[in-house]
């Protein structure tokens, strides 16, 4: 496990300590609660994006084969199902980036650890504010193709 500051271990120790012996009002970032789930999501989104990037470099490499080969593979990205997956990918990257900034602020900003919980809400808020119009703009064509009157 990478170094994530002593707070990670505080969380684990604190959770194994009887409640009566706990004297840690702050610093329990992990093991249960939002602190653990933000970390689990950071991990899942990081792995998913890494695997996608692998595929994405391979499909882009087709520009070296022929314009036809490239246009064919890009056509699959334009289909409704892959379009929805693409929205999911953007959502995953956006969460990972926003929560990544939160992690960096916890590590380097003096007040970071104290306001980490509020920062989780900022992450959720910014994510929603970007994703709602973002999803619409990414899907205009798909919505039109599936439900629009213009064929």
């Amino acid at each position: 496990m990478s170094v994530r500051g002593s707070s990670e271990w505080d969380g684990i120790v604190a959770s194994k300590t009887p409640v009566s012996l706990r004297a840690l009002p702050i610093g329990t970032l992990y093991r249960g609660g939002e602190g653990m789930w933000t970390w689990v999501l950071q991990r899942i989104t990081g792995v998913s994006v890494f695997f996608f990037l692998f595929v994405h470099v391979l499909d882009t490499a087709l520009v070296r084969v022929s314009p036809e080969a490239y246009d064919l593979i890009i056509a699959t990205y334009k289909t409704p199902i892959v379009n929805v997956l693409e929205v999911g990918l953007v959502g995953a990257v956006l969460y990972h980036a926003l929560n990544g900034i939160r992690i960096i602020l916890i590590d380097f900003w003096k007040r970071g650890p104290r306001v980490q919980r509020q920062m989780t809400w900022v992450v959720a808020g910014v994510w929603l504010v970007v994703m709602i119009p973002g999803t619409y703009y990414m899907m205009i064509h798909t919505i039109d193709a599936l439900f629009g009157s213009t064929p």
Binding site: V3, V63, R64, P67, I74, V93, M138, H141
Partner: protein
């Protein structure tokens, strides 16, 4: 309070053999992360949302973009930073979950070889792209 003299330590100094690799890795995750915010979110915005998104992408679109050294450098930096950041993150995850030494070793070898392959392939594609194919 008197006590028996302690025997001199028999093992060598441990500090000498340790490297700061994990510290630099930790720092790299944070520095590359900040740069990737601009590169990756900018890329996703331009490619998926701006002016029709993915629907307008084809060979000619790529040719137009890579005619500019600005986008070549953008994409090249993004490729290297994202693969190294993601690769180092995957290394951490393998270390966390693969408990047998053999499993851990071979999973990491697979990770390093495939990561190096993708970085090399992507770099080659950006540098040798030939718009006249279109």
């Amino acid at each position: 309070m008197s006590s028996a003299p302690l025997a001199a330590p028999r093992s060598g100094s441990r500090t000498k053999q340790r490297s700061n690799f994990e510290l630099y890795g930790w720092l790299f995750m944070r520095i590359s992360g900040i740069v990737l915010v601009v590169l990756v979110l900018g890329h996703l915005f331009i490619m998926n949302i701006l002016d029709g998104g993915v629907q307008r992408i084809n060979f000619a679109f790529v040719a137009g973009r890579w005619a500019s050294p600005f986008w070549q450098i953008w994409d090249l930096s993004m490729l290297w930073l994202a693969m190294l950041h993601g690769g180092n993150g995957m290394r951490t995850i393998i270390n966390d979950y693969a408990e047998r030494n053999q499993t851990r070793f071979w999973l990491k070898m697979l990770l390093y070889v495939s990561t190096a392959f993708i970085i090399a392939l992507g770099t080659l594609v950006i540098f040798t792209f030939d718009p006249s194919l279109g």
